[in-house]
Amino acid sequence: MRTIVGIVLLALAAVAGSTFTPQVRVFGGQPDLVFLLVLSLAVVSPLEQSVTWALIGGILQDMLSLTPTGASAVGLVLTVFAVDWLRGQMFRLGVINLLVLTLLGTALQKFTIMMISAVVGFSVRPVEIAIYVVAPTMVYNLIFLFPVYWFARRLSRRRATAQRLTRPY
């Protein structure tokens, strides 16, 4: 996928995440579109490209949040490396793997932000956040994973086809 397309998509996901998805919040939980997009792109892209998406996505998320710039990128980067590690362990990533990655990645992403926020001086309440933010976000992410993954896969296939067609013999 072209870098500019990725940046625009991630920016749109970040903006939608701070405008549209809060309208469907349950407690503090809402679908994390940037996380889902980065996870889906990580499944269909090589590691180096996925890390770029994770960094850009995280920075864009932090632009619209109280967290310091870079805090959201840490969880996304760890998720991307987890996807790469899992891909190396098995022939192909199935639906169950994706679901598990979504659940663990969501928790990892939120707890990393929470820990970094605590380190830089914000006071956080881990138990309350786990119940009222992380758990509902996990459920939402499971629901929204499939459309986002389907979109990322289509995008990746279209790009691969275009590359094959334009490649000189």
């Binding site: 920016a11 970040a14 903006v15 939608a16 995440g17 701070s18 405008t19 549209f20 998805t21 809060p22 309208q23 919040r25 407690f27 503090g28 939980g29 809402q30 994390d32 940037v34 590691l47 180096e48 890390v51 960094l55 995280g58 920075i59 864009l60 998320q61 932090d62 632009m63 619209l64 949040s65 109280l66 967290t67 310091p68 710039t69 870079g70 805090a71 959201s72 990128a73 840490v74 980067v77 760890l78 490396f81 790469d84 590690w85 939120k110 932000i113 929470m114 970094i116 926020s117 830089v120 914000f122 006071s123 956080v124 309440r125 309350e128 956040i129 119940i131 009222y132 933010v133 976000t137």
Partner: protein
């Protein structure tokens, strides 16, 4: 040349090293951001993002309100009849209160005292984003230092207290909401004048704690800011008491408070631009606390 490219590929092929370097880069970003070194870049990046957010937010609120309108028509009809009954009752009270207000005005003129609220200067801001991490309850508004906004300024609407400014850039400001679980606001029950401390509850409501046991707390009582602590001006509505009980430690009472504001559908807010929060930490340092 080829050797250089090969080297670049090799270090990225080592997954552990690649992860380490990426995490170090993230840590560098976080430290630079906290130190304020990234402020110009963050400002430049957030300007277009905030502009797009503003447009998206208006669309989102439009869709939300249209969908909500349909669902709320029946509820509104019921509420309307309830309010008509209440109005009749309040009109009688209003006459009485007007009398009291005129007495108060005469007395305050004598004391050369002017209500704080009358001295407030406001800057109106559009809400352009809601914190998507949801770990902190905050919103972003399209007013910043250029408009005279500073850190710590209280943010209100006609329905009451929204929160206070926590971060500010040239053209935008982040407001920590009063429903944030880590924040505390000194509050007072309007009827009994009992003091307490209001904080956000995990479910998005508010809890007023530290209310003395001998104070009467009634359902429907308004909770207003007390002004103690110097962070907020007094007499700004925080919310309405929905229930009360004895606190777990048995030494005070705790009231569930519902804000009159729907924070997920906020469109406009008012920043009290002439209020400077008072830093009381200097006294803690002086006493060694």
């Amino acid at each position: 040349m080829n050797g250089g490219l090969g080297y670049r590929r090799n270090w990225r092929a080592n997954r552990g090293l690649f992860l380490f370097v990426t995490l170090i880069a993230c840590a560098g970003l976080i430290i630079a951001s906290r130190a304020g070194l990234l402020a110009p870049v963050e400002d430049a990046l957030s300007t277009p993002i905030n502009a797009v957010s503003g447009v998206f937010n208006r669309i989102a609120l439009g869709i939300n309100s249209s969908a909500g309108d349909l669902a709320q028509i029946q509820a509104l009809q019921r509420r309307n009849s309830e309010l008509e009954e209440a109005l009749a009752q309040f009109q009688a009270e209003l006459v009485e209160l007007r009398e009291i207000a005129s007495d108060y005005q005469r007395l305050s003129d004598l004391l050369d005292y002017t209500a704080t609220i009358e001295n407030m200067q406001f800057v109106t801001g559009d809400v352009i984003a809601i914190d998507q991490n949801a770990i902190f309850r905050s919103i972003t508004i399209n007013r910043g230092t250029r408009d005279g906004i500073g850190i710590g300024m209280p943010v209100v609407t006609r329905q009451g207290l929204v929160g206070r400014v926590l971060q500010v850039s040239a053209g935008a400001a982040r407001v920590m909401l009063v429903t944030e679980t880590t924040g505390n606001v000194s509050g007072r029950l309007q009827t009994t004048r009992a003091e307490g401390s209001v904080r956000g509850a995990p479910n998005g409501n508010l809890i007023m704690g530290m209310i003395p046991l001998d104070s009467e707390v009634r359902e429907g009582d308004l909770v207003v800011t007390s002004g103690l602590g110097g962070n907020f001006p007094p007499d700004i509505v925080i919310g309405q008491v929905t229930s009360a009980r004895q606190a777990e430690n048995g030494l005070s009472q705790e009231a569930q408070v519902r804000s009159l504001i729907n924070f997920d559908t906020l469109e406009f807010v008012l920043v009290v631009s002439n209020f400077q929060p008072i830093d009381l930490s200097v006294f803690d340092q002086a006493t060694g606390n």
